[in-house]
């Protein structure tokens, strides 16, 4: 395997093809347009289908139609476009159909701006559209991880018959980094996604199948919700992923830490550099990085919090006005002091800015 230098958006497109995705429906929006731009060229080369829909609303409903046929498919957009898809995603989740949605987050609210942000955390992790449903949310922090998570996204979508959202930000989409595509092209078998007993298609004498989200009987709809709830509980029990950075494998800093940062995606990388800087000054900080934003790794985070020495604090850093920090507080259950630093509008905190906040919290002198 050789490394290639690719933009995050293009790498995501290639990763989708390698995962066996042959159907893309989307509508352009900065900062993710290189995904459809890449796929419009790439998909026909592998016998795939690319459709530029007339809107995001159409895109997500095309995804629902294809997924209902048992076809591996995806769409991608950025924040305002993802908002437009909310109704469709609710229907897809209700119908228990698998699909992958990429949100290359940009700054909001409203039309906002085109620069990176993490302010769609609530939207992604709290169900997005109407009704009691959840999507699985994966948050890469490098181009390589974005590629790796695309295969996982399709696997999870098909295992649980549920929408999976890959939630990155404009910086990961626009940045070029070296990537390796693991394994052979077509990491997953194409379009054999367990559609055997539910997907629509030619009946060929079998029993009629219905993909539906309308349940007019309250008891039936209650049953349906209980079934979905059981699925989400199962996902929460099995599929959390995270990274702990700082305490392990760090000969100089030793194993312990007095401050635990929590950040995801691009912000986590910035925190890593800040942690390297302050550890060189003898300050013991570590980072907990959720890779699955939903299911959120509550138990793992709580363990990492319990390992903070003394009455040390937790420091949540986000490119938002404070969204994941609510989950961090839920994990802490009042056992730790939670500090927060956030920016919005496409302003990305620098490592120096984060390092300075760490010094302040730890009562150290400014560098």
């Amino acid at each position: 395997m050789t490394k290639v230098l690719m933009k995050g958006n293009e790498a995501l497109g290639e990763a989708a093809v390698r995962a066996g995705c042959r159907h893309f429906f989307g509508y352009p929006i900065t900062p993710q347009t290189e995904i459809p731009e890449y796929l419009v060229k790439r998909l026909p080369q592998v016998g795939g289908v690319f459709v530029q829909a007339e809107s995001e609303v159409a895109s997500i409903n095309m995804v629902m139609g294809a997924a209902g046929m048992g076809i591996r498919c995806m769409t991608s957009s950025s924040s305002p476009g993802i908002s437009l898809m909310a109704e469709g995603v609710s229907y897809i989740a209700a119908c228990e159909l698998p699909c992958v949605i990429i949100n290359m987050m940009r700054a909001g609210p409203g039309l906002g701006g085109i620069l990176p942000a993490q302010s769609d955390y609530f939207q992604a992790t709290r169900g997005h559209g109407h009704g009691d449903y959840q999507v699985i949310v994966l948050a890469p922090s490098s181009v390589q991880e974005a590629v790796d998570l695309m295969t996982l996204a399709f696997e999870l979508a098909e295992t649980y018959r549920n929408p999976v959202m890959v939630c990155a930000d404009g910086m990961i989409g626009q940045m070029m980094e070296p990537v390796e595509f693991a394994g052979e092209p077509d990491a997953l078998p194409p379009n054999e996604m367990g559609g055997d007993d539910w997907a629509l298609g030619v009946r060929e004498g079998r029993k009629r199948r219905i993909v539906n989200s309308l349940y007019l009987s309250p008891d039936e709809l209650n049953e349906h919700n209980l079934k979905l709830k059981a699925k989400y509980d199962d996902i929460a029990a099995k599929e959390t992923r995270h990274e702990l950075y700082g305490p392990e494998g760090d000969a100089e800093g030793g194993g312990g830490y007095d401050l635990l940062l929590v950040a995801f995606g691009t912000m986590a990388r910035i925190c890593k550099t800040a942690i390297d800087d302050v550890r060189a000054e003898g300050l013991r900080a570590a980072l907990f990085r959720p890779i699955t934003l939903n299911p959120f790794p509550f138990a793992d985070l709580r363990r990492a919090m319990d390992a903070i020495e003394g009455d040390g604090a937790v420091f949540d850093v986000e490119m938002s006005m404070g969204q994941m920090v609510y989950d961090v507080k839920l994990a802490a259950e009042g056992t730790r002091r939670i500090e927060f630093h956030g920016t919005a509008g496409g302003v990305v905190p620098s490592p120096d800015e984060v390092a300075q906040k760490i010094r302040e919290i730890l009562g150290a002198a400014p560098a």
């Binding site: 230098l5 626009q174 940045m175 990388r269 550099t273 390297d276 620098s350 120096d352």
Partner: protein, 186 residues
Amino acid sequence: MSKATDVLMAGFGGQGMLLAGKLLAHAAMNDGREVSWLPSYGPEMRGGTANVIVCVSPEPIGSPLITTHAALVVMNLPSLEKFEGRVRPGGVIVVNSSLVERDPARDDCVVVTVNARRVAKEAGSDRAQNLVMLGAYVGASDVIPPASIEKAIENEFSGKKARFVPGSIAAFRAGVEIGRAAAATV
């Protein structure tokens, strides 16, 4: 040559700074180093700057976004005005004197002034001003062996674009000489 470093390359849109940065990132990756190439993609007024930050390191890159830089390469005055204060002491500043009429105000950096237009023309490739600038940076900073960049140029300009290779490499080499000479006089 193996320690972590970075450069901010900036100019008007179309002056080729993003491509110059890509060649550097590509070459460093092929030399087995970790790299990141982070372009500005935000709204910018006409005549403003298009810029890219390239990080090169033996270790995985933490934050690709940094606010102070080991080196700065600028094609135009707005870029110099905006970014010269961000270069760390002892860093390298490469300025295109065919468009920038003043010297950088920094006396704690290695300053390389290059008339990119003239040097590129003399090398036989008007369009390769960005590669003159990249060469001057490589020559002054020793960030990567020039041969690695030349290989990246050959990879970048393939097929119909292969005709640009000789002029591009000549322009790049002319830049390297200027960069080396400037660094040697410090």
